[in-house]
């Protein structure tokens, strides 16, 4: 499955909202429930879904969904 589609599934599960549609320039400001807890929740869920690990700094530096997709692709060797 395409990284973006799979990531969208993770977003829907974490935020418990089936209607979320992710875009590359989407940021924490665009989703009400996206705070420092859900951010880490997202990271943990993505680590499980894509079977990879992120460092503290990688997590910290994520600025939008597009960067997240790039990071996942790099970690999983899709890039």
């Amino acid at each position: 499955m395409d990284t973006k589609l799979k990531l969208e599934q993770v977003f829907r599960e974490v935020f418990d909202d089936e209607e979320i549609e992710i875009t590359d320039d989407m940021t924490a400001d665009d989703i009400d429930a996206w705070d420092s807890l859900t951010h880490v929740q997202l990271v943990v869920a993505v680590e499980e879904a894509f079977n990879c690990k992120f460092s503290t700094v990688e997590v910290m530096k994520l600025k939008n969904v597009g960067e997240f997709i790039k990071l996942i692709d790099r970690k999983t060797g899709n890039a």
Partner: protein, 410 residues
């Protein structure tokens, strides 16, 4: 040994000559800044052992950063991961030893002298952790990394006393930012105004509040009767919180204005904290750079470990534990005696209670209903007053021996 503070003559001279020197010798501004920073560092040393410790404390992280980054890589072995964690544990233990926490009995056994204390030890640690943790990212992103830049970042005399805590990337990007506007007469006037305003806040406004706080603290110490003591204590706590705000934000105004005259932008550290309507919001408005640092380097890693492990199905509990640990550690960091442990406990407890309440209210009223409830004027006033009162009472343990006072009263 030089007593380096914003009230000292040396600091005043530096504030005056640094912008001029860095402007006149623009090509060598990095070297000029390094010379001044090193001079402050050396002049503030109390002994030769302090020099040795200081040099190691600053240089070891720089040279270890590439090794630590390699050890954090997924391709590295388990032993390397363990050694990396061991390095950070050692660093924190050594920091605790140098701080000489009074309530840790173990430190009493070890030989220690005040002469090894370093100016800005805590702030060195914050910056060193940021540099070593981010090293891999900095390299990858092509951020300039050189020893002189690192030394200027760690030793920066404007921020060495009490922040704001810059990140390496932020500091270097700003220092070499060529798109920055040249200083105009208006800007210089604005900076000078900010410096003057900062000094007034520290030496007039906060000094008055400090005197009043001291007066009411004395009244509590000598007074009797539960109700009068409680009222006097609350007065003391409020005046003390005003003192802390004006003293610290005034200091930040002085160093931010001074650094700006020298062509450097420091991040704002305060945003009207006493308008906050919750403890979480308060910490997003007070000593902002420290709050962000602890969020990135304590809260996020702790909560990640918790919710990927035993708290996988208990996210809320995991969040509460992570918040409590974060605020307890941050509180303990603030000072070396037991009052700061109580301060940390109170902050941790307050944040957890506030999170529990928000969670409960959200369940009861729904997310939308809770938002509407919070936007009511009376609710905002009540929440603001409660936040302020809680912060003031917990801040009373900062700078005053409230634990001693309680024991005396009991």
């Amino acid at each position: 040994m030089l007593n380096f503070s914003i009230s000292g003559l040396f600091f005043a001279v530096l504030m005056f000559i640094t912008p001029i020197l860095m402007r006149v010798g623009k090509r060598f501004r990095r070297e000029i800044f390094l010379l001044l920073n090193t001079a402050v560092f050396l002049l503030c040393l109390r002994s030769v052992p302090a020099l040795v410790i200081g040099v190691l404390w600053i240089l070891v992280p720089y040279f270890m950063a590439p090794v630590l980054t390699k050890a954090a890589d997924e391709s590295a072995g388990k032993l390397q991961h363990i050694l990396r964690n061991f390095f950070y544990v050692l660093m924190i233990l050594f920091f605790a030893y140098l701080m000489h926490y009074e309530w840790v009995p173990f430190f009493k056994i070890l030989p220690y002298s005040n002469a090894v204390k370093l100016l800005g030890l805590s702030y060195f640690l914050f910056r060193e952790i940021d540099f070593t943790m981010q090293y891999g990212y900095l390299k990858e992103s092509g951020v300039r990394i050189t020893l002189p830049d690192y030394l200027n970042y760690v030793l920066n005399f404007y921020t060495v006393m009490a922040g704001p805590i810059l990140r390496y990337e932020e500091y270097v990007t700003d220092f070499y930012d060529e798109s920055k506007e040249e200083l105009t007469g208006d800007m210089i006037l604005h900076d000078l105004h900010r410096i003057l305003f900062g000094y007034l806040k520290v030496y007039v406004v906060s000094a008055v509040f400090s005197t009043w706080a001291g007066y009411w603290f004395e009244r509590v110490s000598t007074g009797a009767g539960f109700f009068s003591i409680t009222a006097e204590f609350l007065l003391f706590a409020f005046f003390n919180s005003f003192f802390i705000y004006f003293n610290f934000s005034g200091y930040c105004d002085v160093v931010t204005g001074g650094a700006h005259l020298s062509g450097m932008t420091l991040r704002e550290n305060f945003n009207q904290p006493y308008l906050a309507v919750s403890l979480v919001e308060f910490w997003n408005r007070h000593h902002i750079t420290l709050s962000e640092w602890i969020r990135d380097y304590i809260y996020s890693p702790v909560i990640k470990v918790l919710i990927s492990g035993s708290f996988r199905k208990k996210l809320f509990e995991g969040q509460c534990i992570a918040l409590f640990i974060t605020f307890l550690v941050a509180g303990i960091w603030h000072g070396t005696n037991f009052n700061y442990v109580v301060y940390g406990l109170l902050q941790g407890l307050g944040i957890v209670i506030s999170t529990l309440r928000t969670n409960h209210m959200k369940k009861k009223l729904g997310k939308k209903g809770f938002k509407e409830f919070q936007s009511k004027k009376l609710v905002r006033i009540a929440e603001n007053a409660a936040t302020w009162a809680y912060i003031s009472v917990s801040f009373s343990f900062v700078g005053y021996d409230v634990c001693g006072l309680i024991l005396q009263k009991l």
